[in-house]
Subunit: 196 residues, 2 copies
Amino acid sequence: MSLVLDPAAQDLLFREARTANTFSDEPVTEEQVQAIYDLVKYGPTAFNSTPLRITLVRSAEARERLVNLMAEGNQAKTAAAPLVAILSADNEFHEELPTLLPHFPQAKDIFFSERPAREQSAVMNAAMQAAYFIVGVRAAGLAAGPMGGLDYAGVQKEFLDDDHTPLMVVNIGKPGPDAWHPRGPRLDIDEVITTV
Amino acid sequence: MSLVLDPAAQDLLFREARTANTFSDEPVTEEQVQAIYDLVKYGPTAFNSTPLRITLVRSAEARERLVNLMAEGNQAKTAAAPLVAILSADNEFHEELPTLLPHFPQAKDIFFSERPAREQSAVMNAAMQAAYFIVGVRAAGLAAGPMGGLDYAGVQKEFLDDDHTPLMVVNIGKPGPDAWHPRGPRLDIDEVITTV
C-alpha cells in the first residue's frame, strides 16, 4: 500500500465516514469540541490566517431560530442533531495577523488592506478549515452532516454580523437509524488529475 | 482522550505534520498519487460536486514555466520539489452532476444554471477538497507545501483555461534539510468558537 496512515484511520476519516442524516440522542460534549479544535487548528492556511469561526447552537431558543432558516429538507435533522455548528469566515481576520504571523506582520497591510481581497481569502481558507473540521469531527468518532441548503442572509443576520460570511451549517453527533444515503459516485482519477 | 483517532495518526495528519519548504530527491510515484486520490475523493462536498481538479507538473519544461510564475520566495522550492501540483476549481463542474448526484440530477439546472453561482460553489468546495488533498498527502507519509504566492492569471493562462480557477500550488515530497519554519501560533478556542 502506498499510504502510511493505518487502514482503520483511513476508514474512520474517509472510507467509512459518511454524511449523517439522522443522529442518536447522545450529547456532544464540550470536551469533544475542545479535542476536535485542538487537533484541526493545526491544518495549514494561507499566511496562517485561520479565518474559520464556529458558532455552536446549543440553546433551544437558538436552535429553533436556526431550524427556521434551514431549507425544508434540512429542518428535521437540524432540529434533532445533538449539536449544530454554524461555520463562517471572518472577513476581518487580518486584524489577527500580527499575532498569527509574527515574522511577517506587514502582510496585514500589504495584502489585506482592501475588503474584497480579505473576503476572497477568508472564504477560501475558512472553507479549507471547514474540511479540516469535518475530518476532526470524524476523528472524535462522531458523524458530521454539513449542509448548504439554508437562508444565508438570514443566518448572517440572526447569528453573525457583516464581518462574518456564513459558509455552511454542520450537524454533529453519533449517527442514528438509517443515517446514510447511498454513497454518491466519485470521478475517475483521469477525470480529475492531468499531468503536464 | 476525546478523540477516537489514534495518536500516531493525529501526529501524521495534524500535530507533527508541517508545511515543508525543502524536499529530498525521492520521487513521488504515480502509485502514491493514485492512493492519495482514492482516499480523499471520499471527502464530502456540496451536492457531491467534487469540483477540484489537479494538474501534476512533471515535465522539466512545464516546471520551468510554472516556477517563472511563482512569487520569488516560492521559486526555489517549487523548482526543487519532487512533485508539484496546481489545484484548481472547475467552474463547469455542474456538467458532471447528473453522474455525481443521480438521485437529484435537476440540481444542475435548479442551482447552477448561472456562472457566478457555479464559480462561488466551485471555489468553496474545491478549497475543501484542497484541504482533504493536503491531509491525503500527509496520509501517504509525504509533506505538502501549499502556496498562494503566485501569478494566478499567468497560471490560469499557461496551464488551465477560462473554466478553471487556480486556487494554489502544492509542493509534494519527503522533507529535506531544514524543511520547517517555526510553527505559527494558533488562536485560542474562545477566539474561534462561540456558543449560543
